[in-house]
Symmetry: C2
Subunit: 480 residues, 2 copies
């Protein structure tokens, strides 16, 4: 289809209206809620906020069955209405913000756990990660890696726009071989096809923001569900906190799920934003947030002692379950959220340090930027299984140029930036993607209706105009 | 006590005879079986064979209860009779070969599983590793790391003289923090004390060959018992075999328990020694033996394809259990055993490559020695959790001097040797041990009766004569 058909917003809105009418048995949202459902957490970025905050779908549909989804998709294909898939909207890069109006396909009601076997589970895309974990707990299993937004984020959303998170310290990012076994996808055509894709082919739909196919079901690797002990360990100085975190993260006999380091002033920002943390986190300290198996507590205590830390919070798995309060909701990009509450001048970036040089690089970059950048590190294993840490640094925002310069300085020091201030798929990945990803769009979305305007390889191939966006330097990473 | 009391073999034998008589309710062995029960697999080393093959205890006792053990230990202390603790005698360095006669305390009948909780189990020292695994399978758990001798080797033996093995690719060596939580030890005194030692103190009794305390019970970290698929993958060339093994070993999303690489001619030696392997292993190939979770089979197949390998054996967990045939019994030092059957001119060494440089070093050393050294690699995580591999190279034996020179060449190339041709504890560890290990002997064996002659730090402190032994170059590793 041509460019014009999508860029005439009024015509798209009219065709969407027709489509709602034709499928009036489905759950449609066309009132004021559409504005909220057209957005995600892209406002973490002052750049994206400016670019995306006015974007709106014309309607949101919330199907409950595959038949309903098929009906919507078929109708959109016939009427040439853009489709932007949404889970819970916890992404940070406008993954689910429609650039050309049309329909938001909200999959949050398509959320059944289909089956669980040892090591593998399958669910509908709209299942919330926390719900999936809860339903699998009886079987002694849980998801391998989840973002800090696990309570609301969906499995399909994690696959479509996410990276990994808690648990990636064991299993690496979601993209690591073995974590996703297969997906069921639907093509956007007048007569949609339903196709099972197995890994590695299935991964061609990963982190493409739903631009090259709609994922209906996911089959993912599972992890043993250990009873996780939550602990906060505070240190007077940065160096022992870093050494402790790295030693704990590496220790092969200490079963764990997450290790997070917050240098000052992040603990103070958290204390300010989250009154509940009072007493659990020492002001003026550097803090390490850890999840280790309860049976690894002695080993944790040995490491705390050895590095001169103080345990300021200790919560058993039962206590976490009973109180529904968990420190995981202060880690990864929840930290960004809370810190921005406490200090409106902050924004952030995301990076991957080089495995083996990661503590050295983190120390070096901290010294380099001083007060301008606050150090937040999350330990993970990379795609090859080497221990490293991701940085989710908080940056004092003083303008787009300076923000770009800070990120560029990281790159110049050999640290890869996963730029969270861009919304084009390629701009988060070396400026280009595997051509097979674009070929996948030809297969599943020949009319170019899925989340249009975000896959540069497709737009260029079809000579479509891209919305104005800064072209970032080359980056190599999926974003968190 | 003085040196002379132990070095007068006839007097020791006489005192042992008296002791047997005094405790005649216990199970004693004093017949021809004593010779076999005084030995282990030290004959893998032509050096140790020469030094140790004549060594004999005067009697073997096989107690069934803590009371029986206490009675033996108290009597030995009163009568000044040396005690050498034995599990199943699967060690390779003469760990359980008595140098001064006396009593062998065979703990193989002291073998009850005491309890299993999520992530932790406790058992009596004489439990066979395979029996412990079998009994824990219902609880969905298994031991974290076991040697290839798991079928007969005991938990106490693994702790007292072992390293780790299968599963160390996840949990590192047994010595890694969190793998051993505590031990119950008994002192050798006329009135023995029973003491619970927790980690890290408990580790002071690890890999000291029962020289500085007798361990009666062990509390160890457990792993989830996945259904392990066994596969052999053959390659025409060494390089892709190495790349495949390293990629599989590192892959964080591929759940696994072991990755072993045999360069030519080891697969041919195995085929010659083990007729059962015919059809499961290609002649003239380089072979990788793998254990991955059944649910990771697709990921395994992807890696096999990517590296151009051929799966020549595939056995499900159920098939392994039904047939009781497992490829694990061709890995680690079982490989050495089988290869020596096929070629009597072989001996071996053991080494640790540097994490991160391990594949490069293995390739380099293989080229350096050509036909003289056969490459056998076992992937593990080291104490810090970094992926590396251990080498259990087979060496064409042409004399002690050349054997020492080969090992020295490894050291000169930055590869640590875990010399299996020495029986003094320190000679396997930098030529010295933590002084706390010797202090532990003062605490648990003030009379110097435990496995005398093997802890140089003690002998020197007490100005005892050591038996003649070559003093090796500095090494840094516990041995497998």
């Amino acid at each position: 289809m041509g460019d014009a058909a999508l860029h005439d917003r009024a015509a798209v809105a009219e065709r969407t209206r027709v489509l709602c009418g034709a499928l009036d048995a489905l759950e449609w949202i066309t009132d004021g809620r559409v504005a909220r459902l057209s957005q995600d957490f892209n406002w973490f970025s002052p750049v994206l906020k400016r670019q995306l905050e006015q974007q709106r779908a014309d309607a949101v549909v919330r199907p409950k069955t595959e038949d309903e989804i098929t009906a919507v998709v078929a109708a959109c294909a016939r009427e040439l209405v853009p489709i932007t898939v949404r889970g819970s909207g916890t992404g940070n890069y406008g993954q689910c913000v429609p650039l050309h109006g049309g329909v938001i396909l909200d999959l949050s009601a398509y959320n059944r756990l289909l089956w669980v076997k040892p090591g593998v589970g399958r669910a509908q895309a709209g299942i919330r990660l926390g719900d999936m974990d809860r339903q699998m707990r009886e079987a002694g299993q849980e998801l391998r890696c989840v973002p800090s937004t696990w309570r609301s984020a969906t499995l399909g959303g994690l696959f479509g726009g996410g990276f990994g998170g808690l648990g990636s310290i064991n299993y690496g990012p979601l993209a690591a071989r073995g974590n996703v076994l297969g997906v069921r996808a639907i093509s956007v055509e007048p007569t949609p096809r339903l196709v099972e894709l197995r890994a590695p082919e299935a991964l061609l739909l990963h982190h493409v923001y739903g631009c090259n196919g709609i994922v209906l079901e996911l089959e993912v690797g599972l992890a043993p569900a250990h009873p996780w002990l939550e602990a906060i360990v505070c240190f007077d100085a940065f160096e022992p906190a870093l050494a402790f975190a790295d030693a704990l993260a590496g220790a092969p006999g200490v079963v764990k799920k997450g290790v997070t380091l917050f240098a000052q002033p992040i603990p103070d920002l958290l204390l300010q934003a989250v009154p509940l943390l009072a007493g659990s986190l020492q002001s003026a300290s550097h803090a390490v947030f850890t999840l280790v198996a309860e049976f690894a507590e002695d080993a944790l205590q040995q490491l705390v002692q050895q590095h001169g830390g103080r345990v300021t919070l200790r919560r058993t798995a039962a206590e976490v379950q009973k109180t529904q309060r968990t420190i995981t909701e202060y880690t990864w990009n929840h930290t960004t959220l809370h810190a921005m509450k406490a200090d409106k001048s902050l924004t952030y970036t995301q990076c991957a340090f080089q495995a083996g040089r990661h503590t050295q690089q983190a120390t070096q970059m901290r010294a380099h930027f001083g007060d301008e950048v606050h150090t937040h590190l999350e330990w993970i294993r990379n795609l090859e299984g080497a221990l490293t840490c991701s940085g989710l640094q908080l940056i004092r925002y003083t303008g787009d140029e300076r923000l770009a310069a800070v990120q560029q300085t990281y790159r110049e020091h050999g640290v890869s930036i996963a730029n969270p201030h861009v919304y084009i798929v390629e701009d988060g990945k070396q400026g280009r993607v595997n051509p097979e990803i674009v070929a996948m769009k030809q297969r599943f979305d020949p009319l170019g209706l899925l989340n249009p305007g975000k896959l540069r390889g497709w737009e260029q191939r079809h000579q479509l105009a891209l919305p104005a966006t800064e072209r970032p330097a080359l980056d190599t990473l999926p974003r968190f």
